[in-house]
Every structure is written in C-alpha cells, then in structure tokens.
C-alpha cells in the first residue's frame, strides 16, 4: 500500500473528470428531451433529426414542417434554455450561499430575495396589468428584480450595522426580519387588491410557460456574470469551510469574500426570479446531490451545480407541461414535489 499524494490527486482528478463528462452528457440529453416533448408540434422522434439537419454540413430530411419547427424553436427551445439558465443560476447561488454562511440548509432566497421580488411583482400586478401591458418594456421582471435587490441590500445594511462581530448569524436574522416585513407589506397590498391574488399566486409558484427568447436575453448576462464571479471564488469557499477565525488566520479577508459572493449570488438569483418567479428547492437539492455524488469541495460543487442545476430544471419542466395537459402545472410545484421527499432522505442520511 504505497500510495503517494500525487496518485491521490490524480485519481480524484479522473473521478471528477468522469462526473463532468457525465453531467455534460446529461445536460445535452435533457435539452434534447425537453425540445422533443410537448402538447403540440412534430412527432417527438423527428425533432433530433431536424436539429441535426440545422447543424452545418449535415443534411437530413426529418419531415418537420416549417410551422412545426416554429413550435420547437420559438416555443419549446426558449423555455428549455430558460429552464437551464434559471436552474444553473439557482443551484450555483444556493451552493455559494451555503458556503459563505457555512450552513447546508440555506437557499438563495435566504436574505430576502424571494420576499422582495414577490413584493415587487405584487405591486406591478396591483397597478392593473392592463395599463402596463402595452408598455415598451414589461415592468414585471424589472419590479421583481428591483424588489429582490432592495430587500437584500436592506438585509445587508441592517445586518452589518448591528452585528459588530464577524458572525454571519446577524445577517441571517436580518434576512428573516426583512422577509417578514416584505411579506407583511405584500399581504397588505394583496388585501386591498383581491382581484390579482390569483395572478400573484401563480407567479409565486414559478412559471416558465411564457418563456421567450427575450426572457433568455434578459437574464443571460446576469447569469453569466454572477456564475463567473462565484466560480472565481470556489477555492476561497473551500477556505471558508474551516470557519471565520481560521480562514482569517490563513490570510483570507472573509468579510470581502462574503460580501462579493452574496452580492453576485443575489444579482443572479434576482434575475432568475424576475423571469421565472419563485422556484423553490432547486438551490438546496442540486448542491446537496452534487456533494453526495462528487464530494463537498466547492471546486467540484460549484461547476457541477451549474450543470446539474440546468439538467434538473429542464427535466422538472417536462412534467410541468404534460401532467395536467393542456393546463400547466406550476414548476414550483414540481420541484417541491420532488424536493421535499429528497430533503427528508437527505436529513435521514445526514443523521446516520
């Protein structure tokens, strides 16, 4: 048994490479399946041929009409891409939050993102959508985005103003307070505008059904920017795992790392929430699955969360469009339906 440290890193490297290849393959399969299944459109098996036909240098007669292609490309594809982006963003943000707060149970909505976005959306719905419907820019995602950022900013200001210690507990508690406050205001506004309860309710449960390429363009820069920033912190998140004191003694400016990571994760989450509503559990399930599969180092958790988060939401979106066909099952219901049992199993294995 003479195993050198080099062998160890090499073996670990091969295993990680396997996971990356597998996740990437899964993503391609998920995207393909996502574009193949839907209530209208061409027969499912024709779609891959048509997609291949669209690639350069390949010509296959798939027998898909232009009209059917439109359904695939203009309706299904943006929805699949949006699901992938939102899933990737929520997962990597969740993993990062869990890292900086050293708490495996926090999700990206921790510091008030959800409540702030909900409040923003409620306000827009209450202002009578008819009047805003023909605006050049849809105010709904903007209001949700702004609400989310304002809520987290408030949390951060309150949390750091009163918490003189390095502890992150004050920040989490401030998040709870801000969430309660925003929810209270939201409930008050809803009470006065009974007619929009249904719309707000379906927004809160999350939806990808109205996805267009415009939505994709809207969130793509935020997702790319904030996942890049988070990925750059993957080594530092590993250092943070030994606690604030030791990370400081190892030469890390933990306040700066925490601030940058929280801001980047919040920005991405707010963008995702703005176009898709509140999709719960993704930010917890995916990072934990990754940890169980490939180990807890953030160097693996962050990139694999991006890939598998995309896979998870693309796949979760499929039952959401076929289960109650022709109606939509809100995607938040699907993710929570799978998420809650998963969470219980996770707690059980943790206990053992």
């Amino acid at each position: 048994m003479s195993l050198t440290a080099d062998d160890v890193t090499q073996r670990a490297g091969t295993r990680v490479a396997t996971w990356f290849t597998a996740s990437f393959a899964l993503l391609i399969i998920a995207v393909l399946v996502g574009t193949m299944i839907g209530p209208a459109g061409p027969q499912w098996w024709r779609v891959p041929f048509e997609l291949a036909d669209r690639l350069p240098l390949i010509s296959i007669n798939s027998g898909v009409s232009a009209e059917q292609w439109n359904i695939v490309w203009q309706i299904r594809m943006p929805r699949v891409v949006l699901a992938a982006l939102v899933g990737a963003m929520l997962s990597v943000a969740g993993a990062s939050y869990q890292g900086v707060f050293r708490n495996p149970l926090v999700d990206p909505y921790l510091l008030g993102v959800a409540a702030g976005a909900g409040l923003g959306a409620t306000v827009v719905f209450s202002l009578k959508r008819q009047t805003t419907q023909n605006w050049l820019i849809d105010p709904l995602p903007l209001a949700a985005f702004a609400g989310a950022l304002v809520a987290v900013l408030a949390t951060y200001l309150v949390g750091t103003a009163f918490g003189k210690t390095r502890s992150s507990t004050t920040l989490v508690l401030a998040g709870i307070a801000v969430t309660s406050l925003a929810t209270a205001v939201q409930t008050f506004v809803l009470q006065r505008n009974n007619d929009v309860v249904r719309q707000v309710y379906s927004w809160i449960l999350g939806r990808l059904s109205s996805a267009t390429w415009a939505d994709v363009r809207l969130i793509l820069p935020y997702v790319v920017f904030s996942s890049t920033v988070l990925m750059m912190h993957r080594r530092l998140l590993d250092v943070m795992r030994v606690g604030d004191d030791e990370a400081t003694a190892l030469g890390t400016n933990i306040r700066r790392v925490r601030l940058v990571v929280v801001l980047a994760a919040t920005l991405g989450t707010a963008a995702a929430v703005a176009v898709s509503g509140l999709i719960g559990f993704v930010g917890i399930i995916v990072p934990h699955t990754v940890r169980l599969l490939a180990g807890a180092s953030y160097r693996r958790v962050l990139p694999l969360s991006i890939l598998l988060g995309a896979v998870f939401l693309v796949l979760a979106d499929i039952p959401s469009r076929v289960l109650a066909n022709p109606a939509e099952t809100p995607i938040g219901v699907v993710t929570a339906f799978f998420g809650a049992p998963f969470f219980l199993i996770l707690l059980r294995t943790r206990k053992n």
């Binding site: 890193t9 590993d238 030994v242 030791e246 003694a249 190892l250 030469g251």
Partner: protein, 260 residues
C-alpha cells in the same frame, strides 16, 4: 528563523481589558509557553498575533511590525493552530492540508505545482501520505492533531502559534504531538509560542515560561524559576507540590488541601 515581538500589546473586549501592556520578545527558534489560569489572557495574546482580535500596541516579526491590514503577509509569517479547530468531516486530508497554502495563492488563482510539492513534502514528513484521501471526519483525535499541524506547516511560516495543542489528547498522544512540534522546531528553526494548562508538560518542552494573570505577565523564565509552589498558590489558587528532578525536569503534583 524569525523573532516574534510583542510591544505594549493591549486587548480589550467591550471595555474589559483582557491583556494589559504585554511585552515580550520570542527569539528565533525558541519555544515560549504561556501559562496561567483560565481567563488570564493567554489565548488573547495568540489570537492577537494571528490577527483575529483588535489590539493596540504592536506585534512584530523580526522587528518589522505586522500591519493589521495585511492578512496574507501575516499568514505567511505566522501559522495559528486554535484550541478546537473547525475540521469539516467531508473534506479529504489532502484538501485540508492544502488550505495551508492559501496565503501564497492570489485571490482568484489556484494552487501551483510548487504548492502541491510543498503539500507532498509535508505529508511525507509527518507520515500522513497514507491518509491523504481519507475524510477528515474518519480520523482519530491524535491523527486530527497531526493534520492540523501539517496544515500549519504548509504555511511555511517561521512562527507557529499553538493554543492548547494537547487539550483533547491522551497522555501518549500529548507526548507525540509535542515531540513532533519540538522536532520540527529543531529541524526548521521554527519559533513556537504555545498556551498550555499542563504545567509539567509546559516545563518539559518550553525553553521559557511566561506566567500570565489577569492579562498581565507576572513571571517569566525557565521552568525551575517560574514553577514554584508559592507562585502557583498565588496565581492559580492551587495547593501543589513542585518537585525538581535532578535532570532539571520540574514536576507539578496537585495536593489535597486537607487530609481527610
């Protein structure tokens, strides 16, 4: 290969003075042991040197004052082992020891081949290579202590601070851990400052003892001069016999105050 100097070090928590005007110069390659009752300020001195608490006065490496702003520079010169290190169960030993290279890695960069080389050397030297891919959570207390020391060594800092390094260990592992530190000190000329409760062990390993009481240094010197029953009675409020062996070893034996 560096001295560690404390000049007028004062630490207060919410207005309460924990350490008052602490002055000391730890020579290069010296092992200084801070002793004193609970709350005397031993840990605070170490935490100040590691940059974990605010202080007034200065901490200097080779007479060069450590700026409070440069955590990296500090970590390249001072390695700190806390009393109860946070050890994530699901981290491999290799990953854990690699954290010690953090002060040398640029903010967003990753480890260089040199960093990995340092880790391999440290693991080999501490005979930990076979543990490299084990999870930290599966290790015994003695093994964990070696891993923590390995991480501190990976920092390649000339000064090593140990807060109660033997608190959680049985007598055999206490000896092993302290022997390990002593060997490393001799091989690499490390300057060691430790806080310890076991006075016999402290006297056995340290070159010099500093007795602290209520944040003030009240005695300093070798084991024979500091470990006296009157001194211990005064500052620890303990009734103890102090036995001086012929080879210079000092043994502290607690006594029942009344014989019943």
């Amino acid at each position: 290969m560096s001295t560690l100097g404390f000049c007028d070090l004062t630490i207060s928590y919410d207005g309460d003075c924990a350490v008052k005007s602490f002055n000391n110069l730890v020579n290069s390659g010296e092992w200084l042991c801070l002793i004193g009752p609970n709350g005397a300020g031993k840990s605070s001195v170490l935490r100040a040197a590691a940059g974990l608490v605010n202080y007034s006065g200065s901490v200097a490496i080779d007479q060069k004052e450590i700026p409070t702003t440069s955590a990296k520079w500090r970590a390249q010169n001072i390695a700190y082992v806390p009393q109860t290190p946070v050890m994530p169960d699901d981290m491999t030993v290799h990953e854990y020891v690699l954290l010690g290279r953090n002060p040398y890695i640029k903010h967003f960069a990753s480890e260089s081949t040199h960093d990995k080389q340092v880790i391999n050397n440290v693991l080999t030297r501490l005979d930990l290579t076979r543990f490299a891919k084990r999870m930290v959570g599966t290790l015994s207390g003695g093994e964990r202590q070696r891993i923590v020391i390995a991480r501190a060594l990976a920092q390649e800092a000339p000064v090593l601070l140990l807060d109660e390094p033997t608190a959680a260990l049985d007598i055999g592992h206490q000896q092993q851990a302290l022997e390990l530190v002593d060997n490393l000190r001799r091989e690499q000329g490390l300057t060691v400052v430790s806080a310890m409760h076991d006075l016999t062990l402290a006297g056995l390993y340290a070159d010099r003892l500093v007795l602290m009481h209520q944040g003030v240094c009240v005695a300093s010197g070798n084991a024979q001069s500091v470990l006296r029953s009157e001194t211990l009675a005064e500052f620890y409020g303990v009734s103890a016999r102090v036995h001086h062996e012929t080879d210079g070893t000092v043994v502290v034996i607690p006594q029942r105050s009344t014989s019943n």
